[in-house]
Symmetry: C2
Subunit: 200 residues, 2 copies
């Protein structure tokens, strides 16, 4: 990696943390200068605009989240175990978020939906991939006879993702992971009792 | 009502719509001047600061949401009917939001949680009231024998609120109420099958 690439990566990393806490509109280039210790020129040397940095920072943030999901399902062999591992990724959202500020998909979706079409498009793509990831696991579970075959796979995937994101929102608001724990408990119950195929 | 009060109310109404779409950091006084047709002085004549207007606009927005909830449960006599009416309030979140931009509690919570302690406190109070409102209905349902008495009332209320807010987030991201419909279907199923006391 060239030295310039390393600086670029460093700026993205710092910017992602700032954007995820303060929002894109709430963050200025001065905030990024302060956090990185670089001058304005040192930043614009690597990015043509704040927007270019914003998009790169979102990609980086989503990568961090995806690593968590990949790590969570490692070694989990059944679809039900994998689903429960996925809903537990944000178990300690306050003490141990993937990056400061909580879930970048939640933050970016809410901020960009009425304001920033390009960023919203990126958030949609991240959401598409997340929903697809969960649908694939559910379908595998159905195929292997672990999950009931009379469920609406799309609806269940949307429900799981919505509940996780809402739980993050409430926990972040109160700065208390207990709300997320409650949500995970209820969602686990849903997976165990509504999705799991009962033995005959 | 004095003429000055009417202008104040008008500014709050317009500002609430702007803030709910663009966020507090993403909205400037110029945006509010453009939307209201007033000059800067005409706005600051009624509000000492952007912050004072921000807080008043949030109160106004939450009032609109609360009216929806009050209206939704009107004429619903059982606790289960009331819960289902509540989760259906955002059924057409894209076509018919309480105000432009979707749910002000979601938007404000996500924006303020790491940035604006006073606004976050207001959002917490609104969330406190919403959770309490749902807990009261659940407890009434338990008392009247409609809802199982072995549930964790706090956890269920958090779960319902989280799922609704997450559903709004996903629907708003895709600008498509179909996601919210899915979430409402799943949540209705949860209320009917997990909360409802089964007859013996």
């Amino acid at each position: 990696m060239r030295k310039g690439d390393k600086t670029r990566e460093y700026i993205i990393m710092q910017a992602a943390n700032i954007f995820n806490q303060q929002g894109y509109f709430g963050s200025s280039v001065s905030d990024i200068m302060r956090e990185t210790g670089l001058r304005k020129g040192g930043i614009y040397n690597h990015f043509e605009s704040k927007d270019e940095l914003v998009l790169a920072a979102f990609d980086y943030a989503i990568q961090l989240v995806n690593k968590r999901y990949a790590h969570a399902i490692e070694g989990k062999s059944t679809a039900l175990e994998q689903l429960i591992a996925i809903i537990s990724v944000y178990d300690n959202i306050i003490e141990d978020p993937p990056l400061k500020g909580g879930c970048p998909l939640l933050n970016t979706a809410v901020e960009s939906d009425d304001t920033h079409p390009v960023l919203r498009e990126k958030a949609r793509e991240a959401m598409d991939r997340w929903l697809r990831f969960i649908r694939i696991i559910i379908k595998k579970g159905i195929k292997l006879g672990e999950i009931r075959n009379n469920i609406d796979v799309d609806a269940v995937a949307t429900f799981i993702v919505s509940t996780i994101e809402g739980g993050v929102m409430v926990s972040k608001l109160y700065q208390d992971s207990a709300y997320m724990h409650s949500v995970i408990d209820q969602l686990t119950h849903f997976i165990e009792h509504t999705l799991r195929k009962t033995k005959h």
